[in-house]
């Protein structure tokens, strides 16, 4: 018994050294990566959200280096260079009308995530705790309405499945709706509230009340496009197989991701839905896109594609299905446009 205890103590000591040694190594490696690299060094106030001037693309910097994870901007007209990186860190963001919706994490023993509404000088206007990991962020065109989607997880060993929670904040009336699951949903005139319903990917109309979003329910067979009425707290199902709708600046079309394959490595393709004719057009990108796209203008769509460990590139393509995808900004995620 004594020998076995000695052997055990030695094994524990060796394995503990490996564990501690590797942790120290990983910490130093990350510090070296964050300090070095070729990325742009973040500067407080570097990103200007004030509308006007030439259009700028706002995104999360995912280039290796000191700016990783920070808010960054390039000119839409010359996206290849002149990247400015702010000290503000956002996991997902959306900018409109001189305002920023920034979904960010704050470290502690448990990482809490927040949706933060900020003005053009990054001053905090409102902070709302998220129930999980940031996924989608959206502001209405005038910056009044904010919507976010978070992944909720962590139930138990046996049920590791995800669900999502989507909330909306009306900054004029200071009203927070923490989850759209409290809204009434109707489909073909009948109540439609499957218990496993989840919502994600909101996009607002100019009236600051109507919005589009995704309702997902695996028990009801997939995803649905809903049109919501914020004041009435209701939603209506419009169509099947539509995720992450994003309304064009002229309000006539939605770009969305459509599930086209059961192959889990490439399930989606971006489509544009004409709201007047309800005609769907497949876009040129053939790689699977898991993003809520944004409109650079009424003819061009920007979206992110993963390039590997935590890194993404932003691509653009014509909104009418013609042409081909074009790399716009490398090392960038979650684009939105300041006009």
């Amino acid at each position: 018994m004594k020998n076995r205890i000695i052997v055990f103590a030695v094994c524990v000591a060796v394995l503990a050294s490996v564990a501690i040694g590797y942790t120290v190594y990983a910490l130093q490696r990350d510090k070296a990566r964050a300090g070095g690299g070729e990325g742009v060094r973040p500067v407080a106030g570097a990103v200007d959200l004030t509308p006007g001037g030439s259009a700028r693309l706002i995104f999360r910097d995912t280039a290796k280096g000191p700016g990783f994870g920070r808010l960054a901007e390039v000119r839409v007209g010359s996206p290849g260079g002149g990247r400015k990186v702010d000290t503000q860190a956002c996991e997902r963001s959306y900018a409109a009308a001189g305002r920023l919706l920034c979904l960010a994490g704050q470290n502690g023993l448990v990482v809490h995530h927040y949706a933060e509404l900020r003005d053009s000088r990054m001053k905090l206007l409102k902070r709302i705790q998220l129930p999980g990991l940031p996924s989608r962020a959206r502001l209405s065109a005038d910056g009044r309405m904010a919507a976010w989607t978070a992944f909720v997880y962590g139930d138990s060993y046996t049920s590791a499945g995800f669900s999502t929670r989507t909330g909306i904040y009306d900054s004029r009336t200071d009203t927070v709706v923490p989850t759209l699951e409290t809204f009434e949903v109707r489909r073909n005139g009948k109540d439609f509230t499957p218990p496993d319903r989840n919502f994600w990917g909101v996009s607002f109309l100019k009236d600051d009340n109507t919005f589009y979003a995704t309702l997902g329910s695996s028990s009801s067979g997939g995803t649905f496009l809903v049109r919501g009425d914020f004041a009435a707290r209701t939603m209506t199902v419009l169509r099947e197989n539509v995720e992450c709708p994003s309304l064009s600046p002229d309000g006539t079309r939605l770009v969305f991701k459509k599930k086209i394959s059961d192959d889990p490595s490439k399930p989606w393709r971006l489509y544009v839905l004409d709201l007047a004719t309800l005609r769907e057009t497949a876009l040129a990108e053939t790689r699977s896109v898991d993003d809520q796209g944004d409109w650079l203008d009424d003819r061009t769509i920007a979206y992110s594609l993963p390039t590997g460990s935590s890194a993404f590139d932003v691509w653009k393509q014509p909104a009418d299905g013609s042409g081909r995808p074009e790399l716009m900004v490398s090392g960038a995620y979650g684009p939105s446009v300041v006009r």
Binding site: V7, V12, G108, F151, Y153, P195, D290, S309, F312
Partner: protein, 432 residues
């Protein structure tokens, strides 16, 4: 068979049952059960660390989509039932419970290193999750058989209670270590996850070493099995009336048992609980489980394990009555009482069923027997899960839960009347 059982019991008693000499959990059970409990505790730290960070790692670290994650999650659910039975059969056939359990623990530990190695490959990650789950499936029955074989028949309940309590402690510590590690890493870089995996692997490896060094297979040296171990002999166990009753009872009750996720969903539905609390609900159940496992296991030894097993289901009926709205209670009190009842349900059923069934099975077949029992129960619960989801869709939460309340009550009554112990059957001497 009786001879060797008695000898095993005496041995277990002489090694572990020295009341007053040692205090705490260690004094309550045999050295072997304590060693198995430590192994489970350490392993659970390792696996719950990974469970806690895996969703974050896959989605933010690797940029995997939710759909991909759902697919991965589904991959490993189906595969384990068969593996459980195969593992049980092999462990008995070669009298190698420790080796089979050890290989299950080892498989799970090794996958922790596999995650950073396979990177963002979906099939690679699916493979790691499947192997991890397979390891868990393989090790459960031989581990429970070892607990059962290392404990005299009259203290089975306490032994399983101590084991389950130690296991649960690990499930609490794991996420804390994981989040502490995560908070040490700079947030914006998604690259430090590998440290969590490496630490988890090291802890898992310590678990395997603990098993290898301190757990004994009580009958490794005895080559002459008195009952030939074969699939036919395994099925033949169902000829034992008491064991057959336990299987039928566990399956029937399993059919009326609502899965945890639905309990929490229904609870949230009824209380408008702030969503940020939702992930904490399982901790309530686990906490009560942890505290009640040992006392209820001991009580089961004194007044009858099958009785406690049924009483546990009565607690679940109580929880159903509350979340189904039959008893009108709302707010924090509702949440606390339902979680307490749910925790008591686990404490009174999970280990207690194994403690009840163990002594009914010849020791040469104990692993296969327990694996058959666990599988029937699991199958009952999976059918129930699907039925519950479908019924909820159709009739809404309250009606469905009320329907399950009736079904569970009927199942408990059926078990009390038709399957009551004390009817003429074989070796259930310890379970009065």
């Amino acid at each position: 068979m009786y001879l060797s059982e008695t000898r095993a019991s005496d041995k277990a008693r002489s090694e572990g049952e020295r009341p007053g000499r040692r205090r705490g959990l260690r004094g309550l059970v045999s050295a072997n059960v304590f060693a198995l409990g430590m192994t489970s505790l350490i392993t659970d730290i390792s696996s719950e660390m990974v469970t806690a960070v895996l969703p974050v790692y896959l989605v933010t670290g690797l940029g995997l989509s939710m759909l991909q994650f759902g697919f991965l999650d589904g991959v490993y659910s189906g595969s384990t039932a068969l593996l459980r039975i195969v593992g049980g059969y092999l462990a008995d056939k070669f009298t190698a419970r420790k080796a089979v359990a050890g290989s299950g623990y080892l498989m799970s530990a090794v996958t922790k290193l596999g995650f950073p190695l396979v990177g963002a490959s979906v099939p690679g990650i699916g493979m790691m999750m499947a192997v991890d789950r397979a390891g868990k499936g393989i090790r459960t029955a031989p581990r429970d058989a070892l607990i059962s074989l290392s404990t005299p028949p009259e203290s089975q309940g306490r032994a399983f209670g101590v084991h389950r309590a130690m296991d649960t402690v690990g499930a609490f510590i794991g996420p804390v270590i994981a989040f502490a590690l995560m908070s040490m890493m700079s947030t914006s870089l998604g690259t430090a996850y590998d440290a969590v995996f490496v630490v988890s692997f090291c802890i898992g490896a310590i678990g395997v070493v603990a098993l290898a060094l301190f757990v004994r297979d009580p009958f490794t040296r005895k080559k002459t099995a008195r009952v030939a171990v074969s699939l036919r002999a395994g099925l033949g166990m169902l000829g034992n009336a008491a064991f057959r009753r336990a299987c039928i009872g566990a399956c029937l009750l399993g059919l009326a048992t609502v899965s945890d996720a639905f309990i929490y969903l229904a609870l949230q539905n009824r209380t408008d609980l702030a969503i940020s609390w939702f992930p904490l609900l399982p901790l309530g159940t686990t906490g009560v489980y942890l505290l009640a496992a040992v006392p209820l296991g001991g009580l089961a030894d004194r007044i009858g394990r099958w009785k406690i097993f049924l009483a546990g289901h009565a607690c679940l009926i109580g929880a159903y009555l509350l979340i189904g709205g039959v008893l009108d209670l709302r707010g924090t009190a509702l949440i606390l009482i339902v979680l307490a009842l749910h925790g008591l349900f686990y404490a009174a059923t999970d280990g207690v069923l194994m403690a009840h069934a163990g002594p009914l099975i010849p020791e040469e077949l104990r692993t296969s027997g327990l694996s058959v029992l666990q599988t029937t129960q699991t199958l009952g619960r999976s059918v129930s899960s699907v039925a519950f989801g479908a019924a909820w869709m159709r009739w809404g939460p309250e009606n469905t839960i009320q329907g399950f309340t009736v079904a569970l009550t009927a199942a408990v009554l059926l078990c009390m009347v038709l399957l009551r112990p004390g009817a003429a059957h074989g070796p259930e001497v310890a379970d009065v």
